[in-house]
């Protein structure tokens, strides 16, 4: 015998245990030692998805339509397969913007629109109400069934019982109380409820174990395992039909899968546990398979229990939704039955608490606060601590939500199966999916589109799904469903515009989603997004990285005083909490907020985000705007920042490089220009000098030619002399031209060099032969002192000879007039070939020893009666020697005169051969 008080006692004890867990979880969270910060707790908390619908309803569904209970769990699995695209992105967006609910998410995405937030909240509340009713129905039914133990009797219809004696009503109040205790003890800026999460995770374990216990009992206790059970089932054609091709086919499976795919992220409570309560993105990696695994395990025994129930109660007097409970009861398993009841209570409580908290946050932040602020925001903003007001609004919302659920249950729920009620809720929240997912991937989506889509989708949901339920429950004339309103056949809610032959759910989903997506896309295309809309759109679509790439971006141009912001924050989250978070902020940025008077844009944005956590994005914006001077940055500037942030960074990077390059180039150009100017001047000088050098012999040639022409009577000797001068000057002119060309070629690097291995001795002999006429024309003695063995050099033979001839000619020209002596020394110097030409002339003054090798620079010492050189010989010699890798210089000769010398590197072949030569000489 299970007395109602003992069931109540156990239930209360269980709920207190839950509360204790929640309390402990909150304490640990406050102490900074979270007990929920692991992927297992996270996955278990997501399992709040499994409610009474799963616990009791799935078996009921299985008993009537076989495997049809399953797609509701396959959908979430498929959504989780795409976690990398959806769930993770949603989590990142929410963390970056401190989003606290799905209403907040959608409102925030479309320009922090209060209207949109309110609309989403409204749809959510109306949509979830049947779902909460479902839980109330399940708990009250299971209680009323269990109370009859050991008899299995279906409880009376609630509507015949006074409200205050109705179990469901008491359950609703009890759950409201718990939801208030769990979720609204204080206002938290981060809007995390760690204790609640811990309790939910615990509940998930309890309901799983309870359900498995029944499953194992039925399969292995009542029957000898799966084989035996299915064999027994196979004997009944009615049961066999459940797991083989059914008449209804599988046409509605895609609808159910799609619905549940949307529900796992769009249901406010799923959004709460999977997104808002997520403490670490990495937990997702384990949860994405742990949660589907949980779903799989809890579903294994659904069909066996359904079969067991059907075999046990073949007459159909027992509601299949209660099989989980009634089969153990019929078998007199008192303890198991009680455990099952607790499991079912767990499933219902978990859902109701999380849903109520999520909905109350939405109602408070997105419905009531914006209205209050709009009505009298200035007054409100100037009031003292508002956190109490916020808590009151939330508590009131929780009670309201549960009472709405109870009302729905009392008026409609009795006549409809659990799963049908749940699917109506799923269809409602699925309306959020286009605006939500579209907003994450489509920048162009606008507020107008979202509002239009949501409104149309919601209206069609209302018309094709909810209103017919009212009609079926007798609250509307049944003719509304059968003949359409005002008997207009085309408007029949189950066959809108003549679309017949679909199940009512697929039909409703088709029309509502067509209208929703159509309105969303068309509305977005036809409207222009506002400033904040475009900003938020860009932020949502481009969110990336753990912290959110734009986490620090702020769009306040103006500023507020720190004191104003502090006061504002304290009003909503309490003075202590606000001091703490602002203190953390200041420390992390190395700021002293006490000394800082004006808050910068970053701090204003930080406070706005904090407030958004407490009162929602739209309200937070209004509140911050009330204390912040200045406005949002202009749209052009912001879009420049956002649309092109990456490009701008890239571009400015490139620009920086470019300007650096430009600077370098400019510098190079300036240097080149200097060099060019210098070269130009040099060229000018060169031409002027060349012109001078050419004109000099030309002058002589022209003069004597004219003299000879004008004086035909000149005597022969005179004539001979003048002609000789003309010839000599012509030769000089030719030589000059050749040398100028040579030099120009060498300087331009266009000289053809025929580099070979040369014995310098041969070249010296040739040079002496070539200059012998110079020597004989004047009484000059020439000595050659050469080493018997000279190292070979690698050079152009003709050019090397040109150098030697130049040097000899130079020496001959400058050596002592009366007693000229020129000596040539050849040998080695420091491992190089050395050649010196010494004269006994006046020598070269120290100052001239460098410039003497420049073009047209002869020593300034006048040499009266000597023929002038071209002034290019030494310059050319230097060019040649340097080209061979050698060096040329002039110094004082021993005694008197100048010594022109050069060295050349020894050719490699000679360097190798040298030791042999030395050893030969030694022999």
């Amino acid at each position: 015998m299970l007395a109602s008080w003992s069931i109540l006692l156990v239930s209360l004890a269980y709920l207190c245990l839950l509360f204790a867990i929640a309390y402990y979880g909150d304490k640990r969270a406050d102490a900074g030692r979270s007990i929920i910060a692991n992927p297992y707790i996270y996955a278990l908390s997501i399992a709040v998805y499994c409610t009474s619908w799963t616990f009791y309803g799935s078996v009921g569904r299985a008993a009537s339509s076989g495997m049809d209970f399953l797609p509701i769990y396959i959908g979430p699995t498929l959504t989780f397969v795409l976690w990398g695209f959806l769930l993770r992105k949603i989590i990142r967006i929410c963390k970056a913007h401190r989003i606290t609910s799905i209403a907040d998410f959608i409102s925030s995405r479309y320009g922090k629109s209060a209207a949109l937030g309110g609309l989403v909240t409204l749809i959510a509340v109306l949509g979830i109400t049947p779902y909460i009713a479902l839980q109330l129905k399940a708990v009250s039914t299971s209680f009323n069934v269990l109370v009859q133990y050991p008899d299995v009797v279906m409880p009376p219809i609630s509507s015949n019982v006074p409200v205050l004696k109705d179990t469901a009503f008491l359950v609703a109040l009890l759950m409201a109380a718990f939801a208030i205790l769990f979720g609204t003890r204080h206002i938290d800026a981060s809007e995390h409820h760690e204790g609640m999460v811990a309790a939910i995770a615990f509940e998930s374990i309890v309901k799983l174990v309870a359900f498995l216990a029944v499953g194992v009992y039925v399969t292995f206790g009542l029957y000898g395992g799966f084989g035996d059970l299915f064999a027994a089932a196979a004997r009944s054609p009615q049961i066999t039909a459940l797991f083989t091709s059914s008449d209804s086919g599988y046409g509605h499976w895609p609808t159910l899968i799609l619905l549940s795919m949307a529900a796992i992220i769009c249901l406010p409570r799923q959004f709460q546990v999977a997104v808002v309560e997520n403490v670490n993105e990495d937990h997702l990696k384990k949860a994405v398979w742990l949660f589907p695994l949980y779903l799989l395990i809890i579903n294994i025994f659904v069909l066996p229990i359904a079969i067991g129930g059907m075999l046990h109660f073949p007459d159909g007097t027992v509601d299949a939704d209660t099989f989980v409970l009634t089969v153990p009861m019929a078998e007199r398993r008192e303890g198991l039955a009680l455990f099952v009841f607790i499991g079912g209570l767990s499933a219902a409580t978990g859902m109701v608490i999380v849903a109520a908290i999520a909905l109350s946050t939405m109602i408070c932040n997105d419905l009531i606060m914006p209205v209050l602020l709009r009505l009298n925001w200035r007054n409100l903003a100037e009031q003292g601590d508002l956190s109490g007001l916020l808590l009151s609004i939330r508590r009131g919302s929780i009670v309201t939500v549960l009472l709405l659920g109870y009302a729905y249950f009392r008026f409609i729920g009795e006549s409809v199966a659990l799963v049908t009620i749940g699917l109506v809720s799923f269809a409602a929240v699925a309306q959020f999916a286009p605006a939500m997912i579209g907003g994450m991937y489509w920048r162009g989506a606008t507020r107008v589109g979202a509002i239009l889509g949501l409104s149309l989708g919601f209206a069609l949901w209302l018309y094709t799904l909810l209103l017919p339920l009212f009609a079926l429950s007798g609250w509307l004339p049944i003719g509304f469903v059968e003949d359409g309103p005002f008997e207009i056949g085309l408007l029949r809610p189950y066959a809108l515009f003549g679309l017949d032959g679909m199940d009512s759910l697929s039909h409703a989903m088709f029309w509502s989603l067509v209208a929703n997506i159509g309105g969303y896309v068309l509305g977005s295309l036809m409207s222009r997004p506002g400033a904040i809309e475009r900003i938020q759109g860009a932020l949502f679509v481009d969110v990336s990285g753990r912290s959110g790439a734009f986490g620090g971006t702020n769009f306040w141009r103006g500023s507020a005083t720190v004191a104003d912001l502090k006061t504002l924050l304290a009003r909503f989250i309490g003075a202590r909490e606000s001091d703490r978070v602002l203190g953390d902020y200041a420390r992390s940025r190395d700021l002293n907020l006490d000394r800082l008077r004006e808050a910068d844009a970053a701090l204003v944005s930080f406070v706005e985000r904090l407030l958004a956590g407490a009162i929602g994005a739209a309200s937070a914006r209004v509140m911050v705007a009330s204390v912040a001077k200045g406005e949002v940055v202009g749209i052009e500037e912001v879009m420049k920042i956002l649309d092109e942030t990456s490009q701008v960074i890239e571009y400015s990077h490139r620009l920086e490089q470019k300007s650096q390059e430009l600077q370098n180039t400019t510098q190079e150009l300036r240097a080149a220009n200097e060099r060019l100017k210098e070269l130009d001047k040099m060229k000018d000088d060169f031409i002027s000098t060349v012109s001078h050098e050419l004109r000099t012999p030309l002058t002589s040639i022209r003069s004597f030619s004219e003299i000879l022409t004008d004086n035909p009577a000149l005597d022969t000797t005179e004539r001979e002399r003048f002609l000789t001068i003309i010839v000599k000057e012509t030769e000089r002119l030719t030589r000059l031209i050749n040398e100028i060309l040579d030099l120009a070629k060498m300087e331009a690097g266009r000289m053809d060099w025929h580099m070979i291995d040369i014995d310098p001795r041969v070249v010296i002999d040739d040079a002496l032969a070539a200059t012998s006429s110079l020597l004989t024309s004047r009484s000059i003695s020439l000595k050659l002192e050469a080493d018997p063995w000279l190292p070979h050099v690698y050079a152009d033979r003709d050019r090397l000879m040109q150098v030697i001839v130049n040097l000899i000619a130079n020496s001959v020209k400058f050596c002592d007039d009366a007693n000229g002596e020129v000596s040539i020394l050849a040998g080695q110097l420091g491992g190089r070939f050395y050649l010196g030409v010494l004269d006994n002339g006046p020598g070269v003054p120290l100052d001239d020893r460098q410039i003497i090798f420049e073009k047209f620079q002869e020593s300034s010492e006048p040499l009266a009666n000597l023929p002038r050189g071209t002034g290019l010989g030494l310059a050319i010699s230097r060019q040649i020697v340097e080209h061979f890798g050698g060096r040329i210089w002039v110094e004082d000769a021993p005694g008197r005169g100048a010594a022109f010398s050069f060295t050349l590197p020894v050719s490699r072949a000679a360097a190798v051969a040298a030791p042999d030569m030395e050893s030969q000489e030694a022999l």
């Binding site: 001078h692 004109r695 022209r702």
Partner: protein, 124 residues
Amino acid sequence: MSRKVLVVEDEANIVDSLSFLMKQAGFEVLVARDGDTAIRMMQRRPADLVLLDLMLPRRDGYEVCREIRSNPEWASVRIIMLTARGRDLDRRKGMQLGADAYITKPFSTRDIVARVQDMLSPER
């Protein structure tokens, strides 16, 4: 009494040709191979006209010209500058320093003789 012409030039062949031309025209010819010698010769035996090359060892033609012009005793001395440099800049510089004419090498022998004769004619 024949007029004296001082040829200041470092190129032996040009000195040769100028001497020949001036002697043939009936002038007494003096020769200096550099600027210093030119000044010294002027002090010893002042000439009536100086054929002055500009590119000279030691003291260049401009200096010689300046020197001559700075001495009032030589105020009547005519100076013809001879240069292988044909630039306007050089010509202007020479005229500023008080040269009477500026002849570019290679010169026409008839032209130079005519100029000298013109400058030293008794009519002037």
